[in-house]
C-alpha cells in the first residue's frame, strides 16, 4: 500500500460511515455496504477481481447490518474497508481463496471493534452540538441553522473516522511489509468462522421477515429450490417476484369478497 492508497481508503471509510457529508443514502447504505466497499478498495489498490472474492462473503455475513444507530449497527465501513484492504495488502502470490477470505474476516473483525468504539465516541460528542443549535435558534438565525448539524457533525465525524482509519491502515501496511506468516490452522478456523457468519446475517434478516407461522414454509421453499433443484439465487429471486405478484392479487380478491 502506498501512502496515497492509505489516505484514499481512510477517506472512503469516513464517507461510508453513518452521517458523512454525502448522506446516509449514498454513504452508509451504499459506499458502506461490503459489496460496494470491496469494489472501491479493489479500484484503489488496482485489483478489483481479487477484492470481489472477499467482498461477496463479507457482504453476506453483514447483510443484516443495516439500521444506523440501531441495535444491529456498528460502523460497518471500518469492518469492510479494512477487511478488504488487509486481504489485498497481506496476500502472498500463491494464496488460496479461502485463506484470502480468512484474512479479510480477520481485518473486518479488528475494524468492527474500532468502528463500534468510534461510533459511540461520535454519538456522545454530538450531544454538545445541541447547545450551539439552541443558541442559533434563540437568535432566529435561520441562515446559520446548518452550522451545528452539518459543520459540527462533519468535523466530529471526520475526526472519529479518518484519523483512526489512517493509523490502522498504516499498521496493516507495516505488517504486510514485514511479511507476517499466518499459520494454516488459524486461516482454516477464521474462514470457517467467515462462512458460518453468514448465518448471523440470515438469522437477523429472518427476524424482520417472519410474521406468520407459515412464513417458515416459504423460507424453506427458497432453501430447497437451491439444495434439491440446484437453482441459483438469481433464479429464486425471479420466482420470488412472480410469487409476490400472485400473492398481492390473492390478498386483493380476499378483501373484495
Amino acid at each position: 500500500m502506498t501512502m496515497a492508497q492509505v489516505i484514499l481508503i481512510a477517506l472512503f471509510i469516513y464517507l461510508g460511515a453513518i452521517g458523512s457529508i454525502v448522506g446516509n443514502t449514498i454513504g452508509w447504505y451504499c459506499l458502506g455496504r461490503p459489496l460496494v466497499a470491496s469494489f472501491v478498495v479493489g479500484i484503489i489498490m488496482g485489483d478489483v477481481q481479487t477484492a470481489m472474492i472477499v467482498g461477496i462473503p463479507l457482504q453476506i455475513a453483514y447483510l443484516a447490518n443495516v439500521t444506523p444507530g440501531g441495535a444491529v449497527a456498528w460502523d460497518l465501513s471500518y469492518a469492510t474497508y479494512l477487511g478488504t484492504a488487509m486481504a489485498l495488502a497481506m496476500r502472498t502470490p500463491d494464496i488460496s481463496n479461502e485463506a484470502l477470505i480468512g484474512l479479510a474476516f480477520t481485518g473486518a473483525g479488528i475494524g468492527g471493534v474500532i468502528g463500534g468504539t468510534m461510533w459511540n465516541v461520535h454519538y456522545a460528542l454530538n450531544v454538545l452540538l445541541n447547545r450551539w443549535a439552541e443558541r442559533i435558534a434563540l437568535n432566529g438565525d435561520a441562515k446559520k441553522m446548518w452550522m451545528p448539524n452539518l459543520l459540527g457533525g462533519q468535523l466530529i465525524g471526520f475526526a472519529c473516522r479518518f484519523i483512526p482509519a489512517v493509523i490502522v491502515l498504516l499498521a496493516i501496511r507495516a505488517g504486510a511489509s514485514q511479511g507476517i506468516n499466518i499459520p494454516s490452522w488459524f486461516i482454516t478456523g477464521i474462514s470457517t468462522f467467515g462462512s458460518m457468519m453468514a448465518a448471523l446475517g440470515m438469522g437477523i434478516i429472518l427476524s424482520f421477515l417472519i410474521r406468520k407461522k407459515y412464513d417458515w414454509a416459504i423460507f424453506l421453499i427458497g432453501f430447497v429450490l437451491v439444495t434439491y433443484f440446484s437453482l441459483g439465487t438469481m433464479a429464486v429471486a425471479v420466482i420470488g417476484v412472480l410469487a409476490a405478484i400472485i400473492f398481492y392479487q390473492i390478498i386483493d380478491r380476499k378483501e373484495v369478497a
Binding site: 453513518i18 452521517g19 457529508i21 454525502v22 448522506g23 446516509n24 443514502t25 452508509w28 447504505y29 455496504r33 460496494v36 478489483v48 470481489m52 461477496i56 462473503p57 443484516a64 440501531g70 444491529v72 456498528w74 454519538y123 456522545a124 454530538n126 450531544v127 452540538l129 445541541n130 442559533i136 435558534a137 432566529g140 435561520a142 441562515k143 452539518l150 457533525g153 482454516t188 478456523g189 477464521i190 468462522f193 462462512s195 458460518m196 457468519m197 448465518a199 438469522g203 437477523i204 434478516i205 429472518l206 421477515l209 410474521r211 412464513d215 416459504i218 423460507f219 421453499i221 432453501f223 429450490l225 437451491v226 439465487t233 438469481m234 429471486a237 409476490a244 405478484i245 400473492f247 398481492y248
Partner: protein, 299 residues
C-alpha cells in the same frame, strides 16, 4: 403573521432546498439527546426563513424544530413534508404551533416502523442480494454487481424520498394517515416479504456453510496408482456431514441459521454476542477436524 389578503405559499426552490438539507444531512449530528433534531432543524430553516418576517417568529419556528425527532430518514421525509405544510398554514393563521409539535411526535413511531421494515430490512438486503447474485454468477466481471447497486440504490431512493416528501406536503397529516390505514401499504409489505423470504431461503442454502468435521476412519491398505503398490492409508467409515446431507442437504447450515434467529428474537441476544458464539463454534468445529481418529482434516 400575514395579512388576510396576501396568502403565503412557499417557493418551489425552498421546498427542494429543505428536502436536500434533509436527504443528504439527516444523519450528521445524530445523538442521544435530540436524535435527528438538529438535522430536522436544518431542513426546516429555509422554510421558516421564507415564511416569517419578524425575528421572534423565526426564533420560535426554529426552536420548535430542533427538539427531539427520529425516524427512518429515507421514507421519513414524509414527516418533513407534513411539517412544512403545517408551518405554511400556521403562517397564514391556521392551526397552532402545538399541533405541529404533536404531529411530529405522532409520526416518529409509524414512519420509523415502515421505513425500517420495508425499506431498510427488506428492499436494501434484496437489492444487495440481486447484485450479489449477479457478481457471483459473472466470474469474469464481478464488478457489475456493485456498479448496478451504486447507480440504482441512491438514485431510486432519492426519487422515492422526494416523492414521499411532496406527498406529505400536499396531502398533509390526515391524507397520509388515511393512506397508512387503507391497507394498501400492508399488502405491498406482505408481497415484498414473500419475495424476501424466498430469497433469504436461497441465500441461506447457497452461502451459509457449517461442517461438524467428524469423519471416523479406519486404517487399511490402499492401492496407490503412482507406485502401483499397496500402502498404509485409511478409509472413511462414518462421515457425519455426509450422512446428514443425505438425509436433508445442508441441514447443519439451516439449523445454525434457525438457531441464530431463535437466539436473536426469543432470547434477545445482541448480534455481537451471537458473533462471539459463532466464533467459539467455529473454533470447536475446526479443532474437531484436527483430532486424530475422528477429525475430517487428518488422515
Amino acid at each position: 403573521m400575514a395579512k388576510a389578503h396576501e396568502k403565503k405559499t412557499l417557493n418551489g426552490k425552498t421546498l427542494r432546498k429543505s428536502f436536500n438539507n434533509w436527504f443528504f444531512w439527516n444523519g450528521c449530528s445524530q445523538q442521544a439527546e435530540s436524535m435527528l433534531g438538529m438535522a430536522f432543524g436544518q431542513s426546516m430553516a429555509p422554510v421558516i426563513d421564507e415564511l416569517y418576517e419578524k425575528k421572534e417568529d423565526k426564533a420560535a419556528g426554529l426552536r420548535r424544530h430542533i427538539t427531539l425527532f427520529n425516524t427512518e430518514s429515507q421514507v421519513g421525509s414524509v414527516c418533513n413534508g407534513i411539517a412544512i405544510g403545517m408551518e405554511e398554514q400556521l403562517a397564514n393563521g391556521v392551526g397552532t404551533p402545538e399541533a405541529i409539535q404533536e404531529a411530529k411526535v405522532a409520526l416518529i413511531g409509524p414512519t420509523s416502523a415502515i421505513g425500517d421494515s420495508l425499506w431498510v430490512a427488506t428492499i436494501i438486503p434484496l437489492l444487495l442480494t440481486i447484485c450479489l447474485s449477479i457478481s457471483s454468477s459473472l466470474a469474469e466481471t464481478p464488478w457489475v454487481g456493485p456498479l448496478i447497486y451504486i447507480i440504482v440504490y441512491p438514485l431510486g431512493t432519492y426519487l422515492l424520498s422526494w416523492k414521499i416528501f411532496q406527498l406529505g406536503y400536499r396531502a398533509g397529516l390526515e391524507g397520509v394517515q388515511r393512506f397508512m390505514v387503507s391497507g394498501q401499504l400492508d399488502k405491498i409489505i406482505r408481497a415484498v416479504t414473500i419475495l424476501g423470504l424466498l430469497v433469504v431461503g436461497a441465500l441461506t442454502a447457497s452461502f451459509v456453510t457449517a461442517n461438524l468435521n467428524i469423519d471416523i476412519k479406519t486404517a487399511t491398505q490402499v492401492f496407490d496408482e503412482a507406485t502401483q503398490a499397496y500402502i498404509p492409508g485409511s478409509i472413511s467409515v462414518f462421515n457425519l456431514d455426509k450422512l446428514l446431507n443425505t438425509v436433508f442437504p445442508k441441514i447443519v447450515p439451516l439449523a445454525l441459521t434457525i438457531f441464530v434467529y431463535w437466539l436473536y428474537t426469543r432470547k434477545n441476544w445482541k448480534p455481537i454476542v451471537i458473533m462471539l458464539l459463532i466464533l467459539v463454534l467455529a473454533a470447536v468445529f475446526t479443532a474437531v477436524g484436527y483430532i486424530p481418529g475422528i477429525g475430517a482434516f487428518v488422515g
